[in-house]
């Protein structure tokens, strides 16, 4: 089959590789119809995630048709059309039983490696380094799905791939970010980063009752989408002298009740601390650049909540703990417990309350995945979200 493989920093290629096979009784094989490039895939592309190996197949946002099931998978039939959550979860451990699916105890074959770094292991994740299990990902024609009796959800035929694909990650991730923000009636929510997760966080914040959402980014096309699609007020942090003051001005001096960080370890900053982080990260003295997180903490109102959806993988420097502590902030964060949100968010899509396809700017054949990575990373052509089609029938119309 064809699969997008990682060969090193800035080097991903579509290779011909063997087809996946059933390896465990609870596995299924899915023939992929749509797969997306996630902002977190760029951390791999840019070489910021450790434990990548030459030849790893990437991709954790994918859906398709079940073509084979293992002997212990009884809820799926060959031919079922499914979306596949990006975390791999057994459904039986302490964490799965408490709906903390991305913290599953039993799905990471390299748990010992994760314990070294994090103290405990997280769940396995498709196509996301050996730290999270070294599982082959879904930017491919086929994928093996472990614990297929627990993860994949059947989707109705009446909905297009483009409408349900993002249930695999970014829609639940934006939703959980908003849920973690503890939104109360009348609240103002600031969303740092208007990539795809930020866009879903904006819509989710309104759906969860926010009065106002302030979207912060530096790319005009992303701010435009936040305003036009999400209905957010926007702030371009590169166009103001002091972003903290600008946010205070917009909120009558209070600061936002909740701040959602949807950027993660490769944040950019315009100030001196942005330069500091860039230097430290380049010198490998700091693994993650927490610029947006710092601003979120600094601007959040007293007693407010900081919700972190952007991915962090290692260590950060100069976190304003004094501000966090003295303002009595609450922090919530983590990899998304996707399984928990599949059904309720599918309901919202079916009810017409949201059509997730609005984030797609680029629909491409899987063969052109390497180009997709480049234009997404470099924000060329106003790229916000790339969806890849293994079975490309040119030229398909955008949803």
């Amino acid at each position: 089959m064809k699969a997008l493989c990682w060969h090193g920093r800035n080097d991903v290629r579509v290779d011909t590789v063997p087809d996946p096979t059933i390896l465990n009784p609870r596995d299924a094989i899915v023939k992929i119809t749509s797969t997306a490039i996630c902002g977190s895939d760029l951390h791999l592309y840019d070489g910021f995630m450790p434990t990548m190996q030459n030849g790893d197949i990437l991709g954790h946002e994918f859906m398709g048709e079940v073509v084979e099931v293992g002997p212990e998978v009884h809820n799926l039939q060959i031919g079922d059309r499914v979306v596949v959550p990006f975390p791999i979860a057994c459904g039986q451990c302490f964490f799965c039983k408490r709906e903390l699916w991305s913290l599953c105890d039993n799905s990471n074959p390299n748990a010992a490696m994760a314990e070294e770094l994090f103290g405990h292991s997280t769940s396995g994740i498709f196509g996301y380094s050996h730290l999270t299990g070294g599982y082959a990902g879904g930017q491919a024609e086929y994928a093996r799905v472990p614990f297929a009796d627990v993860g994949p959800m059947k989707v109705p035929d009446g909905l297009a791939d483009e409408q349900v694909l993002f249930l695999t990650d970014i829609f639940p991730t934006g939703w959980m970010a908003a849920e973690n923000a503890n939104i109360q009636p009348g609240d103002t929510v600031a969303v740092w980063g208007c990539g795809p997760v930020g866009q879903f966080a904006i819509k989710s914040a309104y759906l969860l009752g926010a009065e106002r959402v302030i979207a912060i980014d530096r790319f005009p096309e992303r701010l435009r989408m936040a305003a036009e699609q999400g209905g957010a007020e926007t702030l371009n942090y590169e166009l103001v002298d002091d972003v903290i003051e600008a946010i205070k001005d917009m909120t009558g001096g209070m600061g936002p009740d909740s701040c959602i960080e949807a950027v993660g370890m490769e944040a950019h900053g315009s100030g001196a601390d942005g330069v500091y982080d860039k230097v430290m990260q380049t010198l490998q003295m700091e693994s993650d650049r927490p610029v947006a997180l710092r601003y979120a903490i600094q601007s959040c109102r007293k007693g407010g909540t900081v919700s972190i959806a952007g991915v962090f993988g290692g260590f950060i420097d100069k976190l304003p703990m004094g501000a966090a502590f003295n303002k009595g902030l609450t922090f919530k964060m983590g990899q998304t417990h996707v399984h928990r949100y599949l059904r309720p968010l599918l309901d919202l899509i079916e009810q017409g309350k949201i059509d997730p396809s609005f984030v797609i700017t680029h629909l491409m054949p899987l063969d052109e995945a390497a180009l997709g990575y480049k234009i997404f990373r470099d924000k060329e052509d106003e790229c916000i979200k790339v969806v890849l089609k293994p079975d490309w029938e040119a030229p398909a119309a955008t949803a």
């Binding site: 290629r13 030849g55 790893d56 057994c90 039986q92 105890d105 990471n108 074959p109």
Partner: protein, 175 residues
């Protein structure tokens, strides 16, 4: 957790550097009696202990253990139960004059509020005289403290998830 393990008769003595001694606690989200019964049937051990070829129970608390090894000569020994308290403790040791001395114990504790069972496993090998741990690892197909710790994790995975997660055998790109 309170534990008086230091004066346990079954505690392996980690005096020589050649010993492989593993002590590991694990919480298994299954009922106490199920976890206990699974371990009490020593023939289940090779299902999660990758370095064991087989364990055969021969009645009266005795068992015959065979290691996986790349050698033509099998590495095997007989063991006997030294302690057994239902749903609390199992301990065993190899019979005197075995080629490889193996000892171990498992303590079981039921956790409140359906939190499953805590197991505390001690597992020790004393390789044959004069053989150091590294050499033993070669003889015994790479057995080290780390691989035995991983085996104990496999116990949890089998009892909870019914299988051991793997990426072994999946496709990857040209190198």
């Amino acid at each position: 957790m309170a534990d008086n393990s230091d004066d346990r008769p079954d505690k392996p003595k980690a005096s020589k550097g050649s010993h492989i001694v593993v002590e590991r606690s694990m919480t298994i989200n299954r009922p106490l009696s199920e976890v206990y019964s699974f371990w009490r049937d020593f023939e289940n051990l090779p299902r999660f202990m990758n370095h064991l070829q087989s364990v055969t129970t021969t009645g009266d608390g005795r068992s015959h253990w065979v290691l996986k090894t790349p050698l033509p000569i099998p590495l095997e020994w007989d063991a006997e139960l030294t302690q057994e308290k239902e749903n609390e403790l199992i301990a065993w040791r190899s019979l005197p004059d075995s080629t490889i001395e193996n000892r171990g114990s498992v303590r079981f504790r039921e956790l409140p509020y359906d939190r499953g069972t805590e197991v505390k496993v001690t597992f020790a090998y004393d390789p044959p005289g004069g053989i150091i741990g590294e050499k033993f690892a070669q003889l015994a197909n790479g057995v080290t403290a780390a691989t035995i710790e991983e085996d104990i994790r496999h116990l949890k995975q089998i009892l909870e998830a019914g299988e051991i997660p793997t990426n072994d055998g999946q496709p990857r790109g040209g190198q």
